[in-house]
């Protein structure tokens, strides 16, 4: 029989500490929809997505009602579109994005991920057209998310793609300038992108995946920070231990919801993503966990060490709680989506350079960071190149989702609302990186990629 304190602990986690299932994401393969005719292709993908994911939202809501656990997002990820659109023009790509948008609306999901291209070694003509279509796609659609993988540890860094992405991010910002450049919030540039990530904007359904799969992303920064709060005098080993135990409990709940969703939808289970994903809500912040460990403000000296401990302990606790772990699995540090990060950035304690260091020890990367609207494309490319190098050399996923806020500068704030939050604009270095970026070519894969 369960005891009283266990029951109260669980109720408190959900009621006061924002424990929730952040997303149930259905991955759908579009490989069998390929057609040389874009109209045929659009028809097929619409039919397939709405057939498989038509019940996703209703099922998610039903599980939430039955178990009393909030399930925040129900989403779909698809095969990277760049792989299934042979010889399509930019115009055709926009058409495909609209078909995805229609399918998302028909299913009632808030985001559909997979308007993506894998160009880590080189880009095909389709990949290039997909990338060139992004400014239009991200302006004309609201629910379509895009990710571009520009590097892997095995292939090295495609600097031509990095250069192009700097320009495209700038164009996307300009295309959506009236809405605080929100187009850029739906676009991520990756190194070592995972094929089973359930979190947006980087989710897609990898080519090694099956026909259809359910991946679940849990969350609960609030639960971790209040567990640490109860131990003001504990040493750091004890802190690591309590994070591990808390991560275990959170993940077990994620696994249970995943199993239930798979059973009800009759779709195989993929992975649970162990990420601590913050929201702008008070008490749901990763920065506050770090501050609870003993930092006056997130971003000061010691931040990287605390984050490294947090990230590792979350993985250790979570791994045992789930049969398959995947996706990004770690702590997220999206600046605009985390109340503590927003405060630290507005005060100037948390800087872009410090965030870059932090990404060496946690999942994802420079995420939801607003930079001045007049930042040059080559500087954005150089920010990407730095971040992507951390991933390539350390054999991990890193990513960049920056928003050059058109018409705004340091001291201003961009407001996206909802889960995307608000971001103070952070300064970037003024010195040019243009010559380096313009060299183009490919940065060779690191020596430790030669493991065979």
């Amino acid at each position: 029989m369960l005891n009283h304190s266990d029951i109260m602990e669980t109720i408190k986690m959900i009621d006061e500490e924002h424990l929730d299932i952040r997303t149930i994401t259905m991955g759908i393969s579009l490989l069998d929809c390929v057609d040389r005719d874009p109209d045929q292709f659009c028809e097929r993908i619409y039919e397939k997505i709405t057939r498989l994911a038509g019940n996703l939202v209703a099922t998610g809501e039903e599980i939430a009602r039955t178990y009393g656990i909030p399930i925040i997002n129900k989403r779909v990820s698809v095969t990277p579109i760049g792989l299934v659109t042979p010889g399509y023009s930019v115009e055709d790509m926009v058409k495909v994005a609209h078909a995805l948008q229609r399918a998302a609306e028909a299913c009632g999901i808030n985001f559909i991920g997979g308007f993506s291209a894998l160009v880590h070694k080189a880009a095909t003509e389709s990949d290039l057209n997909l990338i060139r279509s992004l400014p239009r796609v991200l302006k004309e659609t609201t629910n379509v998310c895009s990710s571009i993988n520009v590097a892997t540890t095995k292939a090295g860094i495609n600097l031509d793609a990095v250069k192009l992405m700097g320009e495209i991010i700038k164009e996307c910002a300009e295309a959506t300038a009236e809405e605080d450049s929100i187009g850029c919030a739906k676009l991520v540039v990756f190194a070592n992108v995972p094929e089973d990530n359930p979190f947006m904007a980087g989710a897609f359904h990898g080519v090694g995946e099956g026909e259809c799969v359910i991946n679940v992303g849990v969350s609960g920064p609030g639960v971790v920070s209040s567990a640490i709060k109860k131990m003001p005098d504990a040493n750091i080993t004890e802190i690591a231990d309590v994070v591990k135990k808390t991560a275990f409990k959170i993940t077990r709940m994620g696994q249970m919801v995943a199993n239930e969703a798979c059973r009800r939808l009759n779709v195989p289970f993929g992975i649970v993503d162990l990420s601590l994903a913050p929201t702008p809500a008070v008490g749901d912040s990763v920065a506050h966990i770090l501050e609870e460990m003993g930092l006056e403000r997130c971003g000061t000296h010691g931040t990287t060490a605390c984050l490294a401990l947090l990230n590792d302990a979350v993985k250790k606790g979570g791994t045992m709680a789930s049969s398959h772990v995947g996706g990004l699995s770690g702590a997220f540090i999206p600046v605009s989506e985390d109340a503590g990060m927003i405060r630290a950035a507005s005060e100037g304690v948390l800087t872009l350079d410090k965030l870059e260091a932090m990404t060496a020890v946690c999942s994802v990367g420079l995420d939801m960071i607003a930079i001045p609207g007049d930042t040059s494309a080559s500087t954005i490319s150089a920010i990407i190149a730095d971040e992507i190098s951390i991933g390539v050399i350390n054999n991990k996923t890193t990513a960049v989702r920056v928003i050059p806020a058109i018409g705004k500068g340091v001291g201003d704030v961009v407001e996206f609302g909802g889960l995307l939050g608000e971001a103070p604009i952070m300064p970037v270095h003024q010195e040019s990186s243009e010559k380096f970026i313009n060299r183009g070519g490919r940065i060779p894969a690191p020596i430790h990629s030669l493991r065979n």
């Binding site: 029989m1 369960l2 009283h4 266990d6 029951i7 109260m8 669980t10 109720i11 009621d15 009602r65 039955t66 178990y67 009393g68 656990i69 409990k249 077990r252 709940m253 696994q255 249970m256």
Partner: protein, 89 residues
């Protein structure tokens, strides 16, 4: 399936009577109750069997929670699996 009902709030006459009446009306059997009053604060956990109820579990949960509000109590009704998954290996 079994559910766990947790109740916390200021003690008054008739809490158990009212809540167990709601269970009975919905054909829900009570398996176990642990209850204490500490410094005028009433706390209780009920284990109930909801299998034979015709009402949707979420509607029953809502009815309980609303009855709680009327009596100034905080009531949560949750599926037992949630606690099992979290606290049992």
């Amino acid at each position: 399936m079994n559910a766990v009902i947790s109740v916390i709030g200021r003690d008054c006459v008739g809490i158990i009577a009212r809540l167990s009446a709601i269970c009975a009306e919905n054909n829900i059997n009570i398996n176990d109750i642990t209850q204490k009053v500490l410094h005028e604060t009433f706390t209780m956990i009920m284990w109930v069997e909801v299998r034979s109820s015709e009402k949707h579990f979420a509607d029953f949960a809502k009815e309980m929670e609303e009855a709680g509000k009327e009596m100034g109590l905080i009531i949560h009704v949750m599926h037992e699996d949630v606690f099992d998954s979290m606290h049992r290996i």
